[in-house]
Assembly symmetry: C2
Homo-oligomer: 358 residues x 2
């Protein structure tokens, strides 16, 4: 059941999710595979594939899930190399635009796309518009940690942020983790170059001071450092989009480095290949724990609708996880919760900022 339907946040009492069927390196195949995997887990939802109707019909075939999947035709598609401005100008007939439009027109509760990130952000912002009271939208996503998984935002929507933006990111990130990871009072950390109060930029210190206020009701844990991301020290890591993007990609690069080193090391000699056979279950376990596909699904928070970005290079399993994120947000009432929290927090934010100026 969709929580929030009574307040007009859900289209029906079952989630309806529109999928940009043509976005992603291996679209539409991975989108269809992902749709089927997701439907196996949530048979009660409805999926709408937006894209080349003939191709989609052929690929979908006579699967058992065909009647839970609608197809809407779109002539065109956004290309990976398109600039956001280009996509906005010429993109009205693309599968991405049309998939987002279903959410804007209240015919779907969320959109999922593995296509061009910049275009998805620009089209989502334009069609869904900013949520009342939100100063900047932010991209939030998950990553693996020693304690399970954590969330970071902003991962690249805004390269520069001020204290207001960061405080709102904390509020939105907290609601996001509550929805998707089912953690009641997520802990929040502000990414900095040291845990000491005097470290970093002025706007970080002001944001820290506001976040510490009891009135906001957030579980603020203080400054965190880069190493706290992997350690899972907090549930939500709040930062500007430049730093968040670099941190996320640095983590991906180091994960690749590890996988590469393991592979090289276990394939050098006959003996090491035999050792691999012995250790395969354990090595696979580590790989799956740290599998980026299991943490797929970055969400553009702060808009009047749910827009989920799947990794472009993902497979069906990863795409299903991105759909999973959308379903959790819908079912746990992310939209009504975050809009209410922002409305309540903004006056407190102003008040607390005023204190700092005195």
């Amino acid at each position: 059941m969709c929580s929030g339907q009574e307040k007009g946040f859900c289209v029906t009492n079952h989630p309806i999710i529109s999928l940009d069927a043509m976005g992603g390196d291996d679209a539409p195949e991975i989108v269809i595979q992902g749709a089927e995997l997701a439907l196996r887990q949530y048979p009660r939802m409805k999926l709408v594939l937006v894209g080349d109707e003939q191709r989609l019909k052929k690929a979908l075939g006579q699967t058992a899930f065909a009647r839970s999947i609608d197809i809407i035709h779109a002539d065109d598609m956004v290309m990976p190399e398109d600039k956001p401005s280009q996509a906005l100008r010429n993109g009205k007939n693309t599968s991405m635009w049309q998939a987002i439009k279903l959410v804007a027109d209240k015919q779907a509760d969320a959109v999922v796309s593995a296509g061009n990130t910049g275009a998805l952000m620009a089209m989502s912002k334009l069609q869904l518009r900013m949520m009342e009271g939100v100063t900047r939208p932010a991209i939030a996503g998950f990553f693996p940690t020693i304690s399970g998984s954590g969330c970071m935002l902003d991962m690249g929507a805004n390269i520069e942020c001020n204290e207001d933006n960061l405080v709102q990111f904390a509020i939105m990130g907290s609601a996001f983790v509550r929805s998707v990871l089912n953690r009641e009072q997520p802990t929040i950390g502000l990414l900095n170059v040291g845990a000491e109060e005097q470290k970093g930029f002025d706007y970080l210190r002001v944001a820290a001071q506001i976040l510490s206020s009891d009135k906001l009701g957030l579980n603020y844990a203080g400054f965190v450092e880069g190493s706290d991301i992997g350690n899972g020290t907090v549930d939500v890591v709040v930062t500007d989009g430049f730093t968040g993007n670099v941190a996320l990609k640095t983590a991906e690069g180091i994960a690749d480095l590890f996988q590469h080193s393991l592979k090289t090391s276990f394939s050098q000699t006959l003996l090491s290949k035999l050792a691999y056979l012995a250790a395969r279950p354990q090595l696979r376990r580590v790989r799956s724990l740290l599998d980026p596909r299991a943490h797929n699904g970055a969400v553009l928070l702060g808009l009047n609708g749910i827009s989920v970005k799947s990794h472009g290079g993902t497979d069906g399993f990863g795409f299903a996880n991105a759909i999973h994120v959308a379903v959790e947000m819908i079912e746990h009432g992310f939209m009504p919760e975050v809009s209410q929290t922002i409305a309540e927090a903004n006056p407190i934010l102003e008040q607390e900022k005023g204190k700092g100026d005195e």
Copy 2:
């Protein structure tokens, strides 16, 4: 032989390195162990231990290396929790201050300390002073990559940087990698949130334009992203101290996460413990490839002297590696090279900036 001696850059024709014997979690033991390991590799150098004379004499004992090691007494030591300003005010009798002083007084070619980073930076800047023409010093360090190892700067000396700073970091980083990693024409990348020209902050685009100039003679490879750090796409990653610090610590955290996952995975059942025995040589190989101790030794570049920071939690092996970095810089003439390059580059930098303004 110390290259650069004829220009007054080296004290004698063999490297003399002063060691802050009291800095680091397990000092002075790790410093003495590191000194002995380093002397085994470079028997021709001279080391000066600065710290509690009685304790050092006792710890040093009658080792074979005792005659290559001098001891200079210092009453006091910088504590890990001391603020840089505090350390500067009250620190004249500390082992750190006295160890740096030997370099300032031209009695040593480099100083190595595993103590408080902020204090080492502040004391090094004050005593060694900025190199002529350098606008900001930067902390440079190494990290493991798929292709071996790379260098990043700034890793935390300046949280905010402009285009001039970044261009100078590129020049200093290039000379640093040439000295320590023996790469003739190191490739340089500017850390950004995308490889496209229009991405990121204005000062990044201006820096990129200057770095592209043939006149500077740098091997500039363009913008790089966080994932390029682990991939080893370039030899030198140039960034501001805030981003560099977050990226470095994020990488450390993800490395910890991997080690932790491997450990957990191989210790769950009797069978997985047996698998560990089979795979131990390969797993050890991966661990040693990615061993942070092997990449120990961050250097404060841009001063009139070499000041190397060892990781505070390192052991003797890691400390020896930090000494190794200092020796390579001395023997490959880092100081004369970087001062000459900066002097030659500054007029070109001004010229190229002018072009952008027109």
